[in-house]
């Protein structure tokens, strides 16, 4: 079997000083399915050019803006034109860039939260459907093999009927006021104009929401919010707790924070059913704890005995040779590549799509409404 040529990738955002751009590039490279050929890497044209050159792009494909990128690439012959655009800008640019890319017929891989409003997200979902392209949203934590295992265990009924879900996402890097001069990430993430209406809620709360949805398949019915801004002068929430009620009667707690000193990127999921429970922690991602009623705890390990096909499909290394954040991230990129190559009409591999992105924005909107009105608020679903 001859290997297909790598997909031609462009990136919007992710220039020098950006954190997540390099993560996306490593993820795109790891499995060899992409080659970066173009970019509009910064909102500042000079920086965009310098960033492109530093990444080995040619000067003419180091575009000064995403509109120039789209125009320039459409002018190229199809067999060298960009096929996929990766959007890693601050949140406020996701919508216009993605929409333009979809309309130009490019496949899209976009960071989360997808958009500021559910209306925008719905527009993207419609545009993606009309264009017949792949639209992946990098809810990267769903790429972890043991998150796939957790999902499979739930789907197979190993936990019985789910009663309670606890999802936590603890960070501490915003425990003090961090100026944009010192930390570009902190800067735009705490600015409503660029980050959107939610702070920690949007940045990590959406990851938490998606993880619950991905693993349990439960649909939210209503939420009750307690958003907080602990650091004086901050314009957005830096801590959020949301009580969850799911369709069918399950309940949940989502708590996320960016002011918990000492916590790094401590995303945890616990799912409790009538027959069993499971527990997973992102910082120790190669272990999944499984408790069955009246049985001793079983410790499943990535690559180890007792794993199902969902996890095995996305496992690169034998047990004990830990895989981690970048590998899980790469799994999203690789699934998107597989789907692009197989054709968007084919049965898609497992990866988060624009619909999951929409669900995340709907969650954020409901939470903010609950916060404003007090009390339980109904959640729209895609």
């Amino acid at each position: 079997m001859t290997a297909p040529a790598p997909l031609r990738l462009a990136m919007v955002g992710g220039g020098q000083d950006a954190f997540i751009g390099n993560v996306h590039r490593m993820a795109a490279r790891l499995d060899g399915h992409y080659t970066l050929v173009a970019g509009a890497l910064s909102s500042t044209p000079e920086k965009a050019l310098a960033s492109g050159l530093a990444l080995g792009l040619s000067p003419e494909r180091s575009y000064p803006s995403y509109t120039a990128l789209i125009e320039g690439e459409l002018a190229r012959p199809e067999d060298e034109r960009v096929q996929v655009v990766s959007i890693v800008t601050p949140n406020h640019m996701h919508h216009p860039v993605a929409l333009a890319c979809l309309q130009a017929g490019f496949h899209v891989i976009c960071d989360k939260p997808l958009t500021h409003t559910a209306e925008q997200a719905r527009e993207l979902a419609r545009a993606a459907e009309q264009a017949g392209v792949v639209f992946a949203v990098t809810y990267n934590y769903s790429g972890y093999p043991l998150v796939r295992q957790a999902r499979e265990l739930v789907q197979q009924g190993e936990l019985g009927e789910i009663r309670k879900v606890i999802v936590e996402y603890h960070q501490g890097w915003l425990a003090t006021q961090v100026s944009e001069a010192d930390n570009k990430q902190a800067g735009w993430r705490t600015d409503p104009a660029r980050s959107g209406p939610a702070g920690a809620l949007g940045d990590i709360g959406t990851h938490a929401e998606q993880l619950v949805s991905f693993v349990t398949g439960l649909e939210l019915e209503s939420v009750l919010a307690e958003l907080s801004t602990f650091v004086p002068g901050r314009a957005l929430d830096d801590d959020a707790t949301v009580l969850l009620r799911f369709q069918g009667g399950a309940k949940g707690i989502l708590t996320v924070s960016q002011i918990e000193i000492g916590r790094e990127n401590d995303l945890r999921l616990s799912v409790f059913g009538t027959l069993g429970s499971l527990h997973w922690q992102q910082e120790n991602p190669n272990v999944l704890l499984l408790d069955r009623l009246d049985q001793p705890r079983v410790q499943l390990t990535r690559g180890g005995p007792g794993l199902g096909t969902a996890a095995q499909r996305v496992t690169r290394l034998p047990a004990g040779h830990p895989e981690a954040f970048l590998e899980a991230f790469a799994t999203i990129y690789t699934a998107a590549a597989e789907h692009i190559r197989a054709g968007t009409g084919s049965e898609p591999p497992v990866y988060p799509t624009v619909v999951d992105g929409l669900r995340g924005v709907q969650f954020v909107e409901a939470v903010i409404q609950s916060q404003q009105e007090g009390g339980w608020t109904r959640v729209s679903t895609p």
Copy 2:
């Protein structure tokens, strides 16, 4: 220095088949401050007698009821009369037994939750004050050395101003319907007549509330409740999540459950402040994690370097020789003995009192009111 004679202890409740009675007895014995001389160990007179004999009590001090016990002991000369009564009955008997004991002038050690209503608890607090006796409530988790250390760290300002508290108490032993025939503990704890108006909330939620209060010193301002009964047919909550707002602006989450399969007795406390954080787990009680702003995590160990006087005072063994549940429980008994011997007018050692018991009942009442009314409910404080 000559050792004082052990205090003469009576026990009400805690006969054969009871779990917590034997825990109290081991706790009372460990440090040698008590000798059990009398009991009304069961509500059934024959069982009370048999239980007394099995514990080495004389037949005449194996009383058929607590009233008989009080009467019988008051009839004895003071130098052989019971000095302290330990009350380990189901919850509904705490109030009448404790009140009678206080009125008879006995010191009291009582299990939690203290009473069914705050009114009853206040009555006990008043009676204890009038009697001038010691009234300890066995919030045993506050006896752990590293819980004492956590409290001292907060008091010394090591965490700065507290912003957020997460207290969790995960159990799974009531994940299915357990009949009283099979499990006496499950039986009365899920029966409103004996357990009181709260299930998991009363049984373990009060421990969680007290742990927060003990460590942080924060006073609750209001609560928002989400009580659940997941097991069909159960009359009381078996899962409770409570959002907390404290006086001064700190916030918190309290979540307790008895239906989380695989969780044993998993009480955890996280406290986050402006300068640092701490984390402690009851199932691994000899470690306390301390995070200071921009510093690597420090792992304090019971008996190890860096501990303060509060922890050292209640430490029996060198580091690495783990102390656990019974030792922490014994620390409450020992503090009560010390206070009794030093005189109730003296500066009390650290142990939970009837006032802490009252606070717990007030918490339960506010949570239930919040659940009934929906929304945030103000909490009364002692």
Copy 3:
């Protein structure tokens, strides 16, 4: 069933400033089987008296020496005379005190290492047999419920044939020269006259050897020693690694140290067989890891599901309510009491005896011979 009266206990050694004496007393008290009535608590008569009074002994039973204790107690009527003597002196006194006690007909509970020489230990074994009394040696780690579980798993063949054993005992408290003035424990333990011919090897290496023997039932065939003294000026080993060959072909590593900074009391056992493996750590004693061939790891917990009768017999609390060092220690005391009451002719409960003590001394002798001669040395067995 009427409770038997507590056994009348005397203690030799363990006066003020001693560490292990108080441990023995708490262990003796915990389950209520003993009452301390006499002692020769120090080699200094004044200190012996003061220590006795401080413990609540009468002046006339606070003896100035063990010979006085034996004489004094034999002069008392049998129904108030001491029944059991607990020997908690520095090692060099174990042999003379135990021998005298046995000859006087007292049951003995003695600390480890039992004696300086195997010849002395054999003499004690013979004397105990002749006297027809119980002789327990406080290899306390064999009292842990999950150590009992490990042993039962091996006995039931769950691990198949054992191939390899790794036992580790890491401490760091002697990493620097500690003067006796500062630390009485460090003083005598590093003095050959009182500690015997082995330092770390005797103090903690014998615990490690016994743990292997207790859990696996394997008999040592030969040993190869690498003893070290890392702290300048120290007269005894403070670090010892011993390669083990067992009868039947299994092999092992025993490594113990008292100079490993940061390690507290970190005793660990790993046993690897043809069908499975197990792993236990003393500092987290309520968990036992079990790996079966081609199966995911199982985490057994004290009191939890899947435990056998051996562990259940010595379990006091439900799962998640951790038991620890003192409870395990008390289990040895309680087993000795049960054996004394049932009569030494009866089937003994599980506890380490004078024969296990002898085995430990034989191990030490073989290791020292290996160190002196270089190369593998045969081990005598009881």
Copy 4:
């Protein structure tokens, strides 16, 4: 700054069914420093071709043998010729392939153990020096950021003088006889003709030896071996314990096994000095425990506070976003690329070289000699 073009890489070995070949390819891709352009991927020409095509190589650069690869590439113009050859064959081919590559002037990246004999390794070291090329050996565990941190802590004297080192490498995948048909890895690794004179000792013992050498800088003086073959019919050791004596008086234990059921890839290093200790585990590689004398334990995390420049240089992601096996492996590839680009005359970045490969083979030879002769054996050093 314009990015340099990726280095042109060829691979010898690593075709279909091979495990480690794909690991090397992912490692080479991750940071974007290499592009795979040629290969002699299998000893079977048809399989070599098929493997090359499957990896996207052109048919003419999918060579049937390493000799054909060298000849074919030398015939190409220099600006498209392979620059670096990655050797990932079974061990017995390392020497001839590497030697031919060096003589052809290619940079070499070779798996470990480097060769069967020290004489062969010395020949490679000489040839590399004469060729003036980079020769990296993929002791990949030295690429972990916290291993770099450990090394820096030792170099800065934070541990004082090192006294004792414990290195463990626990695996269980060869606990039963595994036929080559079922597991190609197991097949050649247990065949002396292809694996060399050592089994587990060569496969993972050399990793353990290198980790000690890398972190501590200690030079071995002598070793005492206890090699075992537990699985009947196996021709090589599957378990090895080696006592270590280092120049200057430090001591150590190296124990590796492939028959420990349940252990996956459990490499651990503990280093104990006069001022402090450290502990690291490969399966949880983002944490390094540091104990300083009389201080509580500090938990250093990759990317977290308190890390030095050595770790920071090889860190890709913020704290809490775990990096793992592939990232550490990629760090070796990246360092080799940096050294190649900077010129071999420049100060090399940190990576294991042919000299470290030689040291590993010398270690193996000394251990085998010790096993054959019994007793302590002197170790030659490069």
